[in-house]
Symmetry: C2
Subunit: 118 residues, 2 copies
């Protein structure tokens, strides 16, 4: 699971690198604010995935969805957690009940909520 994260990041980066030299491991590492050797180890799954902040920076640079990247790292973004913590009962119930709903049904709910007639 941690390995998957690294592999995926490496794949994304290599793709970017094919188009722009700004995406060498070293340069990217510096841009996201970590040591190259660290990013190297992360990409090869030799180190656990980085912190939420670092993953967010990574997502920005790689044009990836931060929530997806965080999920691969076994995390849930802290802003989502904060929302849940404000109304724990309500959200806990909702999420557990949606656990086994198929994607299309969840999406329908999302749309319903977004177009909010509430």
């Amino acid at each position: 699971m941690a390995a998957e994260f690294g592999e995926y990041v490496r794949k994304c980066r290599e793709q970017k690198k094919a188009k722009s030299a700004d995406f060498s491991l070293r340069k990217l590492a510096i841009r996201i604010g970590v040591e190259p050797s660290y990013l190297s180890k992360v990409e090869r799954g030799q180190e656990a995935p980085p912190s939420e902040a670092t993953i967010a920076a990574l997502a920005r640079e790689l044009d990836e969805d931060p929530d997806v990247l965080l999920a691969m790292a076994g995390k849930v973004s802290s802003d989502l957690q904060r929302i849940i913590r404000k109304r724990p009962k309500l959200f806990a119930q909702l999420i557990r009940e949606m656990k086994n709903m198929p994607n299309h049904a969840v999406l329908r709910v999302v749309r319903e909520v977004r177009d909010g007639d509430w």
Copy 2:
């Protein structure tokens, strides 16, 4: 915020203690599997809230909602996180969109989902 957690636990425990001697700090601590001195500090907000497992045990003993207790401790239960991580995009969007919905509207969605016509 961490203080609030301890205060609340103490309040719950004292209420139980008024009815049953099984709820002395010491006995409860042993039952949930920690040292009494530790629980003491937690209740007085002198130590950060305990781990998820310990909070869950606490909730069981005190007949409290584990999600609520966890929320007071600044955490979100790991099973909820796991559900979110399986479909990060979907759930992230849903939760963020529900952030500002009033309780009754959220509840309506919960009911709708529970009575699932999907």
